[in-house]
C-alpha cells in the first residue's frame, strides 16, 4: 500500500482536525460526570429541604401529576389506579404516557398480604 505523505507546511491534516474535535467531545462527555457531581453537591440543600418538608407534612408523593385526583398521589391510590377503568386500560390523561401499571398490581401475593 502506498501512503502519500501529508502536505508539507500547508493546511492542517483532516485527521488532526477530527481528532481535536473528538477530544473536545470526549472531554465534554467526561465532564458530564464531574458536572453532575458538582450539581448534586449544590442541590444537596434543596434535597434536604424537600426531605424535611416530606417529613414535617407527612407527604407520600411528589407533586408531579396534578391533573387528576388519582394521578396526584399514585402511591395512595387503590390498586386499579391510575388506570382505574381497567388494570391494563390506556390512561386518557397525558400522564398515562409516562406511567405504567404499578408492579405491585402484578404481584397477587402482595395484594393478599396487605389488602384484606
Amino acid at each position: 500500500m502506498i501512503f502519500i505523505p501529508p502536505a508539507a507546511g500547508g493546511d492542517m491534516r483532516k485527521s488532526t482536525i477530527y481528532f481535536s474535535f473528538l477530544i473536545v467531545l470526549f472531554l465534554l462527555s467526561g465532564s458530564i460526570f464531574f458536572l453532575s457531581s458538582a450539581q448534586r453537591r449544590n442541590a444537596a440543600s434543596d434535597l434536604e429541604e424537600m426531605g424535611r418538608t416530606v417529613k414535617e407534612l407527612e407527604l407520600t408523593d411528589l407533586s408531579l401529576f396534578m391533573e387528576a385526583r388519582y394521578t396526584r398521589h399514585p402511591s395512595q391510590s387503590d390498586l386499579q389506579t391510575a388506570f382505574q377503568d381497567h388494570p391494563m386500560a390506556m390512561e386518557h390523561f397525558p400522564s398515562g404516557s409516562l406511567m405504567k401499571v404499578p408492579e405491585v398490581m402484578r404481584e397477587s401475593s402482595r395484594y393478599e398480604t396487605l389488602d384484606r
Binding site: I4, L35, M50, K55, L57, S75, D78, P94, M99
Partner: protein, 378 residues
C-alpha cells in the same frame, strides 16, 4: 508503533475525504443518528434522575399509611382507630392525617388541602405552595375564597408561602387550620382521611402491616417500600408511551442505518476496486470502513449524549414537560438533580456505536475480497 499511527492517520485522512465527498448523505445520517441518541439518552437521564430524587426525598415519608376501604373504595378513617394502632407492638407513633382535594373552578386547578401538626395555624390563615402562589399570583396577605361543602363561601388569608426549594413535593399544597379544613370539607370531627404510623424497627414494617390487616380487615396498609416502588416503576425508563414512540423511530433508524451501512453503492464499490488496484490490501479497506463507521457513530453518540444532558439538567426538559404537565393548571417549577447511571450510558454505547460500526465493515470486507478488475468492470 509510529509507523502504525501514521498509517492510521493516513487512512483516517482518506476516510474523512471520502465522507466529505458524500456530504449531504452523511450529514443527514449524522443528524438522524444524533437525534436518536439524544432522545434515548434524554429519556434515560430524565427517568433515572427522577427515580433517584423520588427515592431520596420519599425516604422521609411515613413508614405506613393506613387507609380504610368500604366496598372496595377509599373511605374516611374513624379517629378512634388511632388507639388500636398504637397498641400494636413495634408501632412508635400513630396519628390521623387530614387531607383532601379541592377543585377550584375559577382557576381550574386541583389543590391538595392539608392540616399539619408541624405548621399549626390559627383559623382563617393558610400557607400555600409556591406553585399555587406563582400560578394564581397569590402572595402573603392576600385573601383566597373557597366554596365549602354546603355551598357557603370561606375566605382565608395567605399567611405564608412554602419554600420554592420544596416545590417538587409541595407545589399544590394548602395548609390550613383543622377547623377550617372541617368547615370546608364537611368532614366530621371523629373522622380523618387516613392514619400514618412510624415504626421502631424498619425490618418489621411488613409484619406490622400484616397485623393491621388481620386486626382490622377493612384497612389497607401501604408501607413505605410500596410508595418508593410506585415511583420506581412509574419512572422505569423502559416504560411509557414516550419510549414506545422513540422505539418506533429507533426501528426506522436501524433500517435506515443498516441499509446505508450494509449495502454499498456502486460508487463505493468502484472506490474499493480502485483502492485495491493501486495497492491497498483487504485489511486496509476494512480498517478504512471501520473508521468510516466509527467516525459517524462515535461523533453522533457523544454529541447526542452531551445535548441530552443539557436538555435535561440545564433546561426545564421541554420535550417531556408537556406530557408531565398534562392538563394540570398548576405545575412545579423544578430543575432535576443530575444522577447518572454509567451502566445505562455503556448500554446505550453498545446498542448504538458497536452495531453500526460492525455493520459497515461486513459488506466492505465482502467487496474487498473480490477481484478489483471485476468490481470496476461491473
Amino acid at each position: 508503533m509510529k509507523r502504525w499511527i501514521d498509517k492510521q492517520k493516513n487512512i483516517i485522512d482518506f476516510t474523512l475525504s471520502s465522507l466529505l465527498r458524500r456530504k449531504g448523505k452523511n450529514t443527514a445520517l449524522f443528524l438522524v443518528y444524533t437525534l436518536i441518541v439524544f432522545l434515548l439518552a434524554s429519556v434515560m437521564f430524565y427517568t433515572y434522575a427522577l427515580k433517584k430524587e423520588a427515592a431520596l426525598i420519599l425516604q422521609n415519608a411515613p413508614d405506613i399509611v393506613v387507609q380504610r376501604t368500604v366496598a372496595g373504595r377509599h373511605d374516611l378513617m374513624p379517629v378512634k382507630y388511632v388507639e388500636e394502632m398504637r397498641k400494636i407492638r413495634g408501632v412508635n407513633t400513630a396519628s390521623p392525617r387530614l387531607w383532601g382535594y379541592y377543585y377550584d373552578p375559577r382557576s381550574r386547578a386541583n389543590f391538595t388541602l392539608m392540616v399539619s401538626e408541624s405548621h399549626p395555624l390559627p383559623a382563617g390563615d393558610i400557607i400555600i405552595g409556591s406553585g399555587i402562589s406563582r400560578s394564581l399570583r397569590a402572595f402573603r396577605g392576600d385573601m383566597m375564597t373557597f366554596r365549602t361543602h354546603d355551598g357557603d363561601l370561606l375566605t382565608l388569608q395567605v399567611s405564608d408561602i412554602l419554600s420554592t426549594e420544596s416545590e417538587l413535593v409541595s407545589a399544590d399544597i394548602i395548609l390550613m387550620a383543622e377547623e377550617d379544613f372541617r368547615d370546608l370539607s364537611g368532614m366530621a370531627k371523629e373522622y380523618a382521611t387516613d392514619l400514618t404510623l412510624r415504626v421502631r424497627n424498619q425490618e418489621e414494617l411488613r409484619t406490622i402491616a400484616g397485623k393491621i390487616a388481620d386486626l382490622l380487615p377493612g384497612m389497607r396498609p401501604i408501607i413505605k417500600d410500596e410508595m418508593l416502588r410506585t415511583y420506581d416503576s412509574v419512572f422505569d425508563w423502559r416504560s411509557g408511551m414516550v419510549v414506545l414512540m422513540i422505539f418506533s423511530s429507533v426501528l426506522a433508524f436501524i433500517i435506515f442505518a443498516w441499509d446505508k451501512a450494509s449495502g454499498l453503492s456502486a460508487e463505493e464499490r468502484k472506490e474499493i476496486g480502485i483502492l485495491k488496484a493501486i495497492g491497498w490490501e483487504t485489511s486496509d479497506v476494512i480498517v478504512m470502513k471501520f473508521w468510516e463507521g466509527a467516525v459517524i457513530s462515535l461523533t453522533s453518540f457523544l454529541t447526542g449524549m452531551v445535548l441530552a444532558y443539557i436538555h435535561i439538567f440545564f433546561t426545564p426538559a421541554p420535550l417531556f414537560e408537556g406530557a408531565l404537565k398534562g392538563w394540570s393548571v398548576l405545575y412545579p417549577s423544578f430543575r432535576l438533580t443530575p444522577f447518572i447511571n454509567p451502566y445505562q450510558i455503556a448500554t446505550l454505547f453498545f446498542l448504538t456505536v458497536v452495531p453500526y460500526t460492525v455493520a459497515t465493515i461486513v459488506p466492505s470486507w465482502r467487496a474487498a475480497t473480490v477481484d478489483p478488475d471485476s468490481i470496476m468492470r461491473s
